[in-house]
Amino acid sequence: MTAAAAPARAARRRPVRRGRWTGWGFVGPFMAVFALVFLAPIAYSLYLSLFRQQLVGGNAFVGLENYQRAFADPQFWSAFGRVSLFLAVQVPIMLGIALLVALAIDSGRLYGTSFFRISIFLPYAVPAVVATLMWGFMYGTRFGLVGNLNDALGISLPNPLSPDLVLASIGNIVTWEFVGYNMLIFYSALRVVPRSLYEAAEIDGAGQWRVVTAIKLPAIRGALVIATIFSIIGSFQLFNEPSILQKLAPNAITTHFTPNLYAYSLSFSGQQYNYSATVAIIMGVITMVIAYVVQLRGMRKGA
């Protein structure tokens, strides 16, 4: 489990007025709203996925028909393949950079630590819409930096918004947005490592590298796992960046570019709510399974 170890056993003879349910008084409000905006829609999604709107006769129960359709749907699988590729390439790059920077800042061996920390974190404050529009303009061959470079050097760089490159371009935008955020998660975890450990390591003659591998990385394992899980979830949910770039690169980004974009197009342009819910549920289940596997592997002792 995470740093939140089980609270120490309460004293034996505790007053009756604090029952076993006291904790619910604090967790209850969160869970109540959570039930309304998470659990109820999920239940409703499951319900939708088992039905079909028919022109005649309204709502009909169709069992797993929607699921069969999804499993045989090439558009869905191409979208799924795309986000899987994205995940395999973008997440390690992003988390790797974030971890290196966090270790560098935490090591106290930099000039201008706090300036770096806030500057690298700053892109997180930029909304996805603004980040995507900004990068999208810069990628542009008309008045973007790519166009400028082509004019200035008389070369023709590959167009970042072309169908072949647009996924990498989106990867760059997402990396830019979230490197600082992940860096801060790692950095915060590093700050609570007891300094006395480093002193002990120094007395034992451990070098910097040894301190990183033997003390720092194990100490922030929980943070690493959480960041990985959130990044995986984020990759599978990829929507904002491609959806906004669509306006700037209409030929490169199809309506089924990512599973989420596909589900969105199905329901808001196609009115196919039932099938859209099915696609979303399949993605949700796949995401949960992968997140769970990552957590189990990450939390194993002595990995």
Binding site: A3, A4, P7, A8, W21, T22, G23, W24, G25, F26, V27, P29, F30, V33, F34, V37, L39, P41, R109, L110, Y111, G112, S114, F115, F116, I118, S119, I120, L122, P123, Y124, A125, V126, P127, A128, V129, V130, L133, M138, F143, L145, G147, N148, W176, V179, R191, V192, V193, E202, I226, F230, Q237, N240, I244, K247, A263, Y273, S276, A280, M283
Partner: protein
């Protein structure tokens, strides 16, 4: 601990960045005073450049007119300083709709992020410091639900809300914003570290009720964590795009993000006026308040991060 006191007085800030007041106890060991490394600094500086150059591009291009955007070099000024005109145009275009969007965004942030932080603080404290039936289930359900893609929720939430008559109202944006699973997780780990269980035991022995113990003893200890969670939920609600995009039809209720995207899309529609200069200037105005909030709140969450490391 009084070591953080000087950090909260702005006057005490020296001019050189990175040499701010030290937030930790006076350093005694060489572990705390390692050699500075030029190489590490250069590597970090590269990541820093990567983070800042696009923002510089945005700022520079906010000073250009629509025509100059296409004719001048992207990372330098066009010689024709158009910023004031751009800002005026942005604020007055279409009867000042941008100002209205800003107001909406503020409403969503105050109600959504404020409520989300409150719920996360209460819930995180409850998870960290109490054992209760179903605690493991709560964690599993929250983590599991986070993995469900946004659209899986968005479509049914939209249908549910439209039955309740909530779509196209601010409630449709605020209510879903109240849940921040990440905030709950942050608060949980923070409370577990920051509140010694002995302290709770002592308060109980002294006869303080749960509510009083939480309000008078735990809240002050949790303050740095609360600021951090508030910062994250503020960013999440300020930057929210997908939810309002689905829930709102009426441009009068748009937040800034959806509004900017509508402006950008205008160029692609037949007969639409291209207003890229306003999109860029509007973008600058959109990120400015958050950047300022970050810089102002920085001192708090810095001290929060630092106080967590003071173990003596």
């Amino acid at each position: 601990m009084t070591t953080t006191a000087p950090a909260t007085t702005p006057a005490a800030r020296p001019a050189r960045p990175g040499r701010g007041p030290r937030l930790r106890t006076p350093r005694r060991h060489s572990v705390d005073r390692p050699r500075r490394s030029g190489l590490l600094t250069v590597l970090t500086a590269l990541v820093c450049l990567y983070s800042l150059v696009p923002l510089a591009w945005l700022l520079i291009n906010a000073t250009k007119s629509q025509g100059d955007l296409f004719t001048s070099f992207g990372l330098w000024f066009s010689g024709n300083f158009h910023l004031v005109q751009n800002v005026t145009d942005t604020l007055t275009y279409d009867d000042g709709i941008f100002v209205r969007w800003l107001g909406n965004t503020l409403l969503y942030v105050v109600a959504g992020a404020g409520g989300a932080t409150l719920l996360a603080v209460l819930g995180g404290y409850g998870l960290a410091k109490f054992t209760f039936p179903g605690k493991r289930a709560v964690f599993a359900v929250v983590i599991g639900a986070v993995a469900v893609p946004g659209t899986a929720l968005a479509v049914p939430t939209f249908l549910m809300f439209s039955r309740m008559g909530l779509t196209n109202t601010p409630w449709a944006v605020i209510i879903p914003s109240l849940i921040s699973p990440f905030g709950l997780y942050l608060m949980w780990t923070f409370a577990a570290e920051a509140i010694p269980t002995e302290l709770l035991e002592a308060a109980r022995v002294d006869g303080a009720g749960e509510a009083r113990t939480f309000a008078q003893i735990c809240l002050p200890l949790l303050a740095p964590g609360i600021v951090t969670v508030l910062l994250f939920t503020m960013v999440a609600t300020w930057n929210n795009y997908f939810l309002p995009l689905i829930m709102l039809k009426d441009p009068d209720w748009y937040p800034l993000t959806v509004g900017l995207n509508a402006w950008n899309a205008q160029a692609a529609t037949a007969g639409g006026e291209a207003i890229f200069n306003l999109v860029i200037t509007g973008s600058v105005l959109t990120i400015l308040p958050l950047v300022v909030a970050f810089l102002l709140l920085q001192r708090y969450w810095q001290s929060g991060l630092a106080s967590g490391s003071v173990k003596e």
